[in-house]
């Protein structure tokens, strides 16, 4: 049986990845953001997930406008990174979980979510940064990722985009899919994105809206599904729409209790945030 052990939302600003690569987590102005992951790492030792499902938005790496799905799920045995324009990165491979991923696809289709399936998928910084925050190296560079990964891309690139309500419902359907899996899996859901920011524009951070978002993600995620996409753009910037990934995460990882949470603004030009929710039942 599949078990949802928890949900985590995090920002994935490229500057976070650069600080990790340079082993400068304690020296950057947003050091408290990294420090807050201490609680996450202790929790991971306890909750022992073996699969991390990452909701993220592709940043013009794997998907182009010739074929732009609204929701796309990785069903591959592994995923690789690639040059995103900053220069060729050290090649990395991330282990997938094709068996669970295909089960989720079958369950989603029966649940009327017609997702695109990807048997090859290049994974970008939006997903990789989240994994590196969860499983850091002892010293410089990145650690080994000890879990399987299933990337789920939510279109945040080419409007019209899925609504917040639809993303939340997708998450709920994925929660049902995990719980109906016949094998044993302990699954952590990750929403990677946000909070408020707009690429190409500095200073478009809305701290009030970000704090409201965190409060609602914890206590009343349904309230956030009342916003239209355009309202989120006006409140949180064009890339504030990455909030969709947190809503999908929270739809799948429902209930539970907050383990830790931080809001730190700015990280680069973004309202930086992380929240971990423990949804284990009868284990705590």
């Amino acid at each position: 049986m599949g078990v949802v052990v928890g949900g985590l939302g995090t920002s994935h600003v490229p500057m976070i990845g650069r600080a990790i690569a340079a082993n400068k987590q304690a020296e950057v102005p947003f050091a408290p953001f990294f420090a807050s992951f201490g609680r996450v790492h202790a929790w991971l030792d306890e909750a022992r997930p073996d699969v991390v499902i990452v909701f993220y938005n592709d940043h013009g790496l794997n998907f182009f406008l010739d074929n732009m799905p609204t929701f796309a799920i990785g069903v591959a045995h592994d995923y690789r990174n690639a040059d995103e324009g900053w220069g060729p990165p050290e090649p990395r491979t991330f282990r997938g979980d094709a068996e669970l991923a295909w089960h989720i696809v079958g369950s989603l289709m029966a649940d009327e979510f017609d997702v695109a399936t990807c048997q090859e998928m290049i994974f970008d910084h939006a997903g990789i940064t989240a994994l590196d925050l969860l499983f850091p190296a002892d010293g410089a560079g990145h650690g080994d990722i000890p879990v399987a990964t299933i990337p789920i891309m939510i279109n945040g690139v080419l409007p019209p985009l899925p609504t917040p309500a639809r993303c939340y419902k997708l998450g709920q359907a994925i929660g049902r899919a995990i719980r109906s899996f016949p094998g044993d899996r302990r699954v952590l859901l990750v929403g990677s994105g946000g909070l408020s920011h707009e690429l190409g524009v500095s200073g478009k951070i809305n701290q009030d809206f970000d704090r409201l978002t965190l409060e609602k993600i914890e206590h009343d995620p349904q309230a956030l599904t009342q916003f239209t996409n355009d309202e989120i753009v006006d409140l949180a910037g064009a890339q504030g729409l990455e909030l969709m990934t947190w809503l999908a995460m929270r739809g799948a990882a429902a209930g539970g209790d907050i383990v830790t949470s931080i809001y730190h603004a700015p990280i680069s030009h973004t309202g930086g945030a992380m929240m971990l929710i423990d949804t284990r039942e009868g284990e705590r």
Partner: protein, 88 residues
Amino acid sequence: MTDVQPGKFHPQAALKGYALNRMCFTLNSAESRAAFTADPDGYCARFGLNDEEVAAVRSRDKKRLFAAGGNMYFLAKLDRVPKPQGAR
């Protein structure tokens, strides 16, 4: 064209900018970035950019790039290529 607000759906913008975005998408690769840097106009011509798109690329001005149908996730690739001399 009226102002395009990134993140919102503008059917008139959706009809534009494909060649511009296609060119920017290729800049993920180091080889393409080198080719673009060596001859920006020639590189744009290979992807069939129209005059408005080429002028917007030359200017690197976001307002013009958005008006030409550019999408920020692909324009970010252009941002990662050092500006050619003479660009304003």
